[in-house]
Structures are given as structure tokens and as C-alpha cells.
Symmetry: C2
Subunit: 202 residues, 2 copies
């Protein structure tokens, strides 16, 4: 996904647009983003955007597929690893997912709100990762707590990890918690989430 670039090498025009599109789409959302904003952010001529990507919509789809992959598919291998125990998976996922989100704090809210604002787009063009609910991890949850729908456990686990990043904009606007303090809380949260999740499963 990351194409490494030597410092003296030129980044392609196409890639400059994609990078600018990531920035602007993530910041404002699809509808509020103007193609002019993207061209300006990229430092490139507006007409080139259509030359490379045909339309705003098509460029957005490219970025969106990337982001959905990041959010859903990134952890699929861990979820489906049959050689690791439930407890090991909990530890691994808690750590790696919070690390992912610390690098991309806006990712969940961006993806989820775009799905919500325009569900048609996603039923048609973007393949969402539905297999997570049928993953080996969820089956392991179901075997541990046979008296409960494993989705309840799954939602709780994912919520512990993701929810703080969903409400982050409120912290930012109100100034309640600054960025460093938030990141520190999330680092602590890796171990807390794993501990709590195991308690719930006892």
C-alpha cells in the first residue's frame, strides 16, 4: 500500500492528488469537499484531477476503498488465526488496533459517517468486510460464553478500543483533553481493554 519513495525521487502527480484527497476528504467529508480544495492542497491544476481520475466521485471511491481496508481488513489475519488462543488474540488485537488508531485517529468516524450519509454508495461499489462477524475470533467468543450472542461481546471489545476515537472531536472542540493526554490514555488503554475483556469472559 505504501510505495516507498527516495527523497530525490519525484512523487507522481497521481499520488500527489491521492494524498491531498486523503487529507481533505478526511477533514471535511465527501459532500463538503470541493475539487478545488484538493487541487490546491496538492499544489496542482484543477483540470488535472479530472484528467487522472475522471471525477470527484471516482477519486473518492479510490480513497474510500483504501480506508475501509485499513479499518476492517487490517486485523483480519489476527481474527482468523486458528493457532492462537482467545486470550492471546485479545492481547494482540487490543495493542495493534489501538496502535493503528493512534496513527489514524479520524479513520473510524470518517468511514462510518460516510457510510451513514450515503449508504447507496457502499451497497454498490465498496465491498465491506462482513466476514469479521463470522471470524474464528467471534466463534471463540461464542464457545467461551455459550449463553450469549457473541456479537454482544464483540461489540463491547471493539467499542472499548474504537469509541474513544469516535468521541475525540468533542474533546478537541471543548479542549477538555489535549492530544498528548489523549494518546497517553490510549496507550494505557491497551492493557486495560485486554484485562477487562478477560474479566467479562470469566
Amino acid at each position: 500500500m505504501d510505495t516507498p519513495q527516495r527523497l530525490d525521487e519525484k512523487v507522481s502527480t497521481e499520488e500527489k492528488f491521492k494524498e491531498a484527497a486523503r487529507t481533505v476528504f478526511m477533514k471535511k467529508g465527501y459532500a463538503a469537499t470541493k475539487t478545488r480544495d484538493i487541487a490546491e492542497e496538492a499544489g496542482l491544476n484543477l483540470a488535472l484531477l479530472n484528467y487522472y481520475f475522471r471525477s470527484k466521485e471516482k477519486l473518492f471511491e479510490i480513497i474510500m476503498i483504501e480506508k475501509v481496508q485499513q479499518l476492517f481488513a487490517f486485523i483480519a489475519p489476527v481474527f482468523n488465526d486458528k493457532s492462537t488462543s482467545l486470550d492471546t488474540k485479545i492481547d494482540l488485537i487490543a495493542t495493534s488496533y489501538i496502535d493503528l488508531l493512534l496513527k489514524n485517529p479520524d479513520l473510524p468516524l470518517f468511514v462510518l459517517s460516510e457510510i451513514r450519509n450515503n449508504p447507496e454508495r457502499f451497497s454498490k461499489n465498496v465491498q465491506l468486510e462482513t466476514s469479521i462477524l463470522k471470524s474464528y475470533f467471534v466463534r471463540q467468543l461464542g464457545e467461551k460464553k455459550i449463553d450469549m450472542n457473541p456479537i454482544q461481546l464483540f461489540l463491547t471489545f471493539l467499542g472499548m478500543l474504537v469509541f474513544p476515537f469516535i468521541v475525540r472531536p468533542v474533546f478537541q472542540v471543548t479542549g477538555t483533553i489535549n492530544e498528548n493526554a489523549f494518546n497517553q490514555l490510549m496507550e494505557e488503554r491497551k492493557a486495560l481493554t485486554a484485562k477487562w475483556m478477560k474479566m467479562i469472559l470469566e
Copy 2:
């Protein structure tokens, strides 16, 4: 907030616009909403929208203040009730907040994504409820677990309640869980959340 209307009484034009605006803004978000959509939804003339509310922006602010109130301020009394124990508060909040969200499932994602897409609007015009983090409930959490930042506990509790409604659009688009099944899960979740939260606090 709810102005009761007799069935034979006419709903005011202004209220028709507000009701239509709630529907359309909540469905598409601010940026993707056209004033023409709102007028059509209301079954009213477009020019009247500006007559009553001056601008799309002003109408949106009215709706948004309502929604923020619903989401944040609704449970403030319970949070700050000094006469109830921590366990009682947990039971009460779990039940009443899930009830609130079952009636307004799109509320959290709508409010949070609008804050994210345009934080400037909220730092200026809409007063966000920041006092929750200083509420009596959060203090009670801190006294129970003195070795931990109470925000961690608060985020976990709220995440258990709210997060399922945040990911609901994914369920809808993929068809994994239908509306009835989701609502059923949330009913069960009232007791589960309370039980789990108390376990974590032991």
C-alpha cells in the same frame, strides 16, 4: 421541547420546516442537504424557508442545538444526582440511555460527525456539554478505582452503550443484522452493560 398538538390543530409552518430539517439533515448531513430537499420534505415553498430562518446555516444551528441537548444533556440529572449510589446510577443510565438511543439511533453518529466535519461551528455557536466529565458520576467512578483515570471507566461505560449505534450503518448496509434483531440485542444489552460495568469496578 415537544409541543403537544391536538390532532385537529394545525402544525405551524415553522414547525413543519424544523421537522423536515431534522429528517433530511440527519439522513444526509449538513453539506449534502439542499434547502430544496427540506422544502420538498416539508411540502412547502422554498422561499418560505428563508423567510422563517434566514438561511440554511441558521436552520441547521437550531436543529443541531436540539440534537446536542438530546445527546449530552438528557442524562445530566442522573449523572449529578448525589443521592444515588454508583451501582444505582449504572443501572439507571444503562437503561435510560439505551432507550433514548433506540428512539434516536442515528443521533450519536450524526452529532459526532458534524462536529468532526466542521469543528469551527461548534467552538463558536453551540455550547457543548463539557460538564459531564466533571459530573458526580465520574467522581464516584474515581473514588471507586483510585488507581485509574476515571475517564477510562467513563469511556468504557459510554462505549458499551453508544458504540453499537455507531456501527449500526454497517449492519444495515451489509444486511448482517436486521432492525428487529438489533433492537432485541440492545434490549438485552441494558442488563449486560450494567453487569459488566460493575465487574470492572470490583
